[in-house]
Symmetry: C2
Subunit: 106 residues, 2 copies
DNA sequence: AAAATCTGCAACCAAACGGTTGCATATATG
DNA sequence: CATATATGCAACCGTTTGGTTGCAGATTTT
């Protein structure tokens, strides 16, 4: 069973859950109202996000509040870093083409 | 069949392929030597990366050169953007705690 | 105390995933 | 021309995934 943030954000429902929790902490029940699936399915997703340490839980009586733990998300960002140079490069190339065109026109 | 960059980078082998191609373009055969799986398995991964438009192919005779298309990777980066503010915030909070401790000590 | 509510677990199921092997096609080499 | 090499497709297989339903435990509410 793979349990890393890359696998966690592969599912669109889990991505939506993370976005919702980025706005405000919520209980599983409240989260489930935003989706077209059963409450239990959302619970399963929360379990996975929990195991990936992307969310944190605080019990309040019979309710459980889930909130975002953005730290672990940085792992994805750090992995992307090695490609940012490349797409930056493409922008610069485009820039160059544009300035060349500008020069030619004038 | 989901075909988006999030699902593409969920698999560790595909992530490694992308990293290798970020360094230099390669043929499927050359790529396969870096992994402990069959050439066909790598071919399958390349097909998926192709469908996600994360790689581009240029035929050279009987060989095919695969190279990275970093543009599409930006989609992931853009999605991450909405969380960057949050983890930045955490750093600032830590910063605050540290300066408070420093003040107390002096 | 009884009923209602919130949550998570277990069992089950169809579909997708990641791998394998065998084969067909196209190109390069002897 | 015959052989070797590079690639991709198809069929198959065990495991994982994402969903369902039913149920049990804990906490509120009445």
């Amino acid at each position: 069973m793979r349990r890393d943030p890359f696998q966690a954000i592969a599912d669109p429902t889990r991505r939506s859950i993370l976005v919702l929790l980025a706005v405000q902490a919520m209980t599983p029940g409240a989260l489930a109202t935003h989706f077209d699936t059963s409450r239990q399915a959302i619970s399963k997703h929360l379990r996975i996000l929990s195991e990936c340490e992307l969310v944190r839980t605080v019990p309040h009586g019979r309710e459980v509040e889930y909130s975002l733990r953005p730290e672990r998300m940085q792992e994805i960002d750090r992995w992307l870093d090695q490609f940012k140079r490349l797409w930056q490069q493409r922008f610069e190339q485009l820039d160059e083409v544009l300035t060349t065109l500008k020069k030619e026109r004038s």
